[in-house]
Amino acid sequence: MVANGKSAFIYSDAFTKYKFAEEHPFNPKRLEMTLDLIKTIGFLDADQIITPRMATQEELARVHDTRYLDAVQAASQPQANPDDFATWGLGTEDTPIFAGMHEATSLIAGGTLLAADLVMSGQYRYALNMAGGLHHARRAEASGFCVYNDIAVAIAHVREKYGARVAYIDTDAHHGDGVQWIFYEDPDVLTISLHETGKYLYPGTGEIIERGEGRGYGYAVNVPLEAFTEDDSWMNAVRSVIIPTIQKFAPDIIFHQNGCDAHTYDPLTHLSASTHIYREMPKITRLLAEEMCDGRLVAVGGGGYDIWRVVPRAWTMLWAELNGNELPERLPKAWLERWQLEASTALPEFFLDPPGSFEAIPRRAEIEEKNEIMVRRVLNGTPFLY
């Protein structure tokens, strides 16, 4: 089954209100740029755009502490004092408070929840919410630019409403800790996270030995890759771990968090991937969704802090894969001209970084070897595979 050009694109202009501060690295302009690229290239019909509603208190409370929900609502008031919210991880440099924070993040959660409903009910085969992917948010704490965990809210929703078994794939450069901890004891939610090792990088978790607890033991899978990992080694890990685990687990629906901060340009992380991985990974998850769960696939965005050179290309390729569009080699001139005026750096002309775009990593062989050994240890320790 190929995509039919009729996937659901969850979007609202109000998504861009999820904005902490002018100079903050989490910049919603990336959503506008990506939407504009997708439209300019002709990959989106007006009737594919579906406007979300805010997630309700009840839907949020499935995964968040109600006291935390109260705190976020209080922090959303224009006169709120940032110093009052430290226990909830709010009012910090990472997650400053801003007026309308609760509404903005509830809408994103509502968007991912809607994407899940559209896919589970069979109205759409695939759905994308590129504003979603706030994978660091915890039960009672904002963390790493994430206030409400839209992914966890949507997973809890499909668990309750449809009794679905869920596979969650997280290929953001940071560990998908928030989603992992929320479902750590649930054997019906498999979480797989590939990320740069937490030796130095936030959030510091995502070690191989984090495998779930109690009945959920084995249903958290972590693949921590070395700093400076490049495309081939990253994709080897993706294929070696994701394909067998998803085939064996046989989920009813797949969620894929497509944070694109593993690119070598990304200012917050230390991996050395090119845009090739953002072309290949959505293909793998889409084909797995076809093979294992009748196509049911929800894709969300996530991290991605080079908003000029990486995010628009990565998520346009993601949408093209979900929507069955054939990707051109070059970005449209009109789009480049429009955004180059504003961009702080030269925009790339090709979707796929041409060979030789980046310098070779001197310790490549050693890094690849370390990653291979790590992948073997991950697979050997995943009990349900055997």
């Binding site: 510091g204 200012p267 310790r363």
Partner: protein
Amino acid sequence: MLVEQIMTREVVTLSPDNTLQEALDLSHHHRLRHLPVVQDGLLVGLISDRDLRAAAPSTLEQAESDQILHDIRVEQLMIKDVITAHPLDFVEDAAAQIYKHSVGCLPVVSQGKLTGIVTERDILRNLVEMMGVNAPTSRIEVEVPDKTGMLANISDLLRARRINTSAVMVFPSAKEGYRTIVFRIRTMDPRRFIQDIEAAGYRVVGHPSMMTDGEV
């Protein structure tokens, strides 16, 4: 952190009159590697599953060994001079005791009475928490001259950036006359903090952002 805050209070114990078979059954049933021996609430000894297994002769003499396990009493095999901790000891002192004496646990005794037990695992879990690894953090190592005020100087930089700290550890540095301070800080974006540190004349070490590509 005090021992009484991390110890297990409901301790499974033996009496000196129990047989080795009873001791083995109890250790299997509760999956315990150490069993304190108690008489009238007072700690009189400790027996480990390793001692118990060593006491059970090989399978060749199975029949006989069963008899031995029923005949010998705990009192005859237990260690009598047990290394213990006090409920008000610091966790790091208990860790030092465990390390120095190569033991797997410390019964916790107050006025001769057994009040709890701490194992290697309890201590390790506590140390992991103290190192801040269980909270979402970035890790930054700074090399500073070994003199007073260095920690305060860098803490000032954190305060100015409104960055919370989960843990701070100070280690001797490989370079003579220097120390390494490890910060686990609660931010996803440590770039400006790293710049601040360098601008203040200190060196961030080990961090991938400070490496020329791949030379970790």
